[in-house]
Symmetry: C2
Subunit: 417 residues, 2 copies
Amino acid sequence: MTTAGTAHETTTRTGPAAARQHSLREHNLELVARAVFEGPEPLSRAGVAAATGLARATVSTLVDQLVAARLVRELPAVTGGRAGRPAVPLVPAPRSVVGLGLEVNVDYLGARVLDLTGDVVVDRVVPGALHDSDPAVVLRRLGELAREVSDGVAASGMTVAGARLALPGLVDPRTGLLEVAPNLGWSTLDPVPPLGLGDLPVRIANEAKLAALAELAGGSDVAAPDSFVFVSGDVGIGAAIVVDRALFLGERGWNGEIGHVVVDPAGPRCSCGAFGCLEQYAGKEAMMRAAGLPTDAPLAALVALLTERDAAARGGSGVVARAGSAAAALPAGRALGSALADFVNLLDVSTIVLGGAYTELLPWLRADVEAVLADRVLAAPFVDLEVRAAQAGPQAALTGGAREVLRAVLADPAAWV
Amino acid sequence: MTTAGTAHETTTRTGPAAARQHSLREHNLELVARAVFEGPEPLSRAGVAAATGLARATVSTLVDQLVAARLVRELPAVTGGRAGRPAVPLVPAPRSVVGLGLEVNVDYLGARVLDLTGDVVVDRVVPGALHDSDPAVVLRRLGELAREVSDGVAASGMTVAGARLALPGLVDPRTGLLEVAPNLGWSTLDPVPPLGLGDLPVRIANEAKLAALAELAGGSDVAAPDSFVFVSGDVGIGAAIVVDRALFLGERGWNGEIGHVVVDPAGPRCSCGAFGCLEQYAGKEAMMRAAGLPTDAPLAALVALLTERDAAARGGSGVVARAGSAAAALPAGRALGSALADFVNLLDVSTIVLGGAYTELLPWLRADVEAVLADRVLAAPFVDLEVRAAQAGPQAALTGGAREVLRAVLADPAAWV
DNA sequence: CGCATTTGTTGTACGGATGAACTATTACGC
DNA sequence: GCGTAATAGTTCATCCGTACAACAAATGCG
C-alpha cells in the first residue's frame, strides 16, 4: 500500500516560525498551487504569474516542481484563436494524489476516495445497525474496508495522502480521542489504532463538521460562500461554522451544539437535562411525533406525508399556501428559526446551510425559518440572510473528510516535491 | 502635529500575496518585534535569536532597524553574575510611538494615549449627557480634544501611529460607517471627517469590541487568556469574541448581540420586537426595576442596595447564603447564565469575562450564572468553565482602542523602519 | 513570408538569511 | 594581576530564491 510517509500534515499552530529562504519557496509554491486549483478555468504559467503577481520565470520553476510532484498536470497546448505562442493550461492532476474519507455512523460505515480534481474515485458504503455496537469490531471492519479501497487505488498508481475518520460525537482534535458518541454507545477511546492502517496518517473529526466542508466543493454557481453556518438535523442537531473556507472549531472543536439552545424554558424536558431545547422541537424524533408518525420512521415517510398533505390542501381548497410553496408547515420551523436567530445574532453569519434531514424538509421549514429570522435578527435590515439546502450528496462527511485531506496537501505542496 | 503618514495600516485580508525577498524581512521583523514585546522579561539579541530560531547575525540587523525606528529601546547592559560579555536587554520603547483611543458614549467622551509599554501617557475623559445628541457638534468637540492631546504628545517628541474611535452602536468596519447608535440617537454617518484630524489614520469600532481588547493588557497573572468571550452589561448588553488575542468579527463585525438572545418567549416584549430577550432580564434598566430602583438610577445605588441586603441577611439571621458569598442573588443571574450557555454551546469558549455593570455586580450574579452554565453547557463535564470579572478599568474601550492601534504597529513594524 | 504577439526559458543581478570567524566584555581560577 | 572560559554582538563570504531583461518558441495576420 503506497502511503505518504514523507508528507507530514501540519495544522497545529505552534506560533510563528523564523522565515528562511525556503519558507519563501514554500509560500509561493502554495500560492501557485492555489491559483491553479481555485481558478475558475485552467490557467497557463503566464496566467498564474498575472494572477499571483509573481514573475513568469519564478512561476515556471514552481509549476515545474508541482508537475514533478504529480499535483498539477499540463493539458495539451490550446491554440485559442489569439496571436502568440499557445498557452499550456494547468489543471489539478487527476488520479494521482488522493484523499481517503472514512466514517462510522449509526446506520452505515463507509470509505470514499477523492482525487485532486474533486472526482470520486472509489465509494464504498456498507449499511448496518451500529447503535450500541462494539468499537473494536466495527473499527476493525472499517479498517479492512479502508485497506481494501486504499490498496485498490495504490495499485492504480495513486498515492493516498491521508485519511479523515468522521464520527457522530464529541471529538477532541488535539488528543485525537473520541470523548463520547451517544448514538453509537461509544466513549473515550482512540479509534485510530484499531483501524490498523499502518503509517497512513489518520485524523478524526466530528461528522457534521466534515459534512460542512463538503459544501465547499465545486466551482458551481450554487457553491456555498466562503463563510457560512452548516446545520445538520437528524436525531440530534449539530452545526459547524465555516469561516474563510476553513472550519472554526473554537477551543476544542465542541462548538455548534445548536440542538441544545433553549427555545422555550417551559418546553418539554430534554435528554440533556434542560427544558425546551431545540432538539425537542426540531429533532427527527420530535418532528415524527408531531406528524403522528412513529419516532423511528424513515425520513421518506415524513416527506411522503407532507407531500400528500400539500396535494390535499391544493386539491381540496384550490388555494396555494401563503408562502407560495407548501401548505403544511412543520411546527419545527419556528423553533429552528429561533435558535438560528440566536446563532446569527451571536456570530454574524449571513448564510445558513441546512443539511441532514433538513435538506429534504426545507420546503416545509423555509417560510417559518425565514420569518422568524427576519423578526429576530438585529442586523436583518442591513444584511441579506440566505437559508439554503445542502448541496453535497449523501454521506457528506465522507466527501468532506477526503476533501479535508486534499486541502492539507494543497496547503503544503512543498512536502510533495 | 506629528502623524504617521507613511504607516498605512493593513487589516483587510485581500488574499495571499506573492512573497518576495522583502516579505521575508517583514515577516522576521515582526517576529523579532513580537519576541521583544511579548516576552515575559527583557531579552537580549542573543535571547531573541534563541527564542525565534533566527541566526544571531540576522537578529542583530533586525533589532538595529527596530531601534532606529524607535519601536525598541536598549537598556543599559546588565552584568548578571554570569561569565561572558553582558547582554543588552531590549524592551518596548516608552514614550515614542503611541496609540490614540477615542470614544463617544452616552455619558462621556474621551481620549486616551498609550505607549508601546502599555503605559497611559494622557487620559482625558469629559462627562456629558450625549443621548440624542447632534453628531456634528459632539464629534467636533471630540476632535478638538483629540488634537489637543495629540499635539501635546507630539510636542514631547512622540509619534501618534493612529486612532480608534469607539462608538456604542453597529459599525461596519469595511465601509467605516456607523450604521446606528440607538443610545446616542445617531444613524448612518461617517464620523471620521467631522473629527478634523487631518491625515491621522482613524478607524472606528464598536465600543464593547474594543473594551474586550483591553482585557488582553498586561502580563499579570490574572490576564485574560488568548481566547475568551467578553460580555458587557449596561443599558444594552453586547459581547465580543476574542480568539488567539484577536477580535473575531464575523462577516460584518455585528456579532455578539447576546442582549437579544431569547431567554423565555413568554417573557416581556423587548424594544427589538421579540419577547423575552436577555436584555429584559439582565439589562441595566431591568435590573434596576427588579431591585425597586428607578430605571435611571446609577449603578452605585444598586450595588449599595445589594450590599445592604447582604449585611441585613447576615446580621439578621446569622446565616450566610448558600453560595457562601452573597445572600441577595439578582434575578438577572439565571437569565444571563442561560444566554451564556447558548453562547458556549454554540462557540466552545471556556472563559467568560464580564464587563460593564456586570463587573461590579458579579458577586450577586456568579452563583446563578455558574449553576446554569454547569447545567446547560453540554461540554461542561469535560471543560473548566471560568467566569471572571473584567480587569481593565473604566472606559476600557479607550484603552482597547489605543492598544489596537499599537497592535497594528507591532504587526507591521516594517512600515516604521 | 515578414511581423506583431504571446508563452515559456535562460542568464545575470540583487536582497536576505546563514554560519563561521572575529571582537568585546565579563567571571573565575591561580 | 593574568590567562582562560564563556557569552554577546559584529563582520564577511556563501547560498538561495526572486526579479528583470533578453531570448527562443509558436502562433495569427496582412
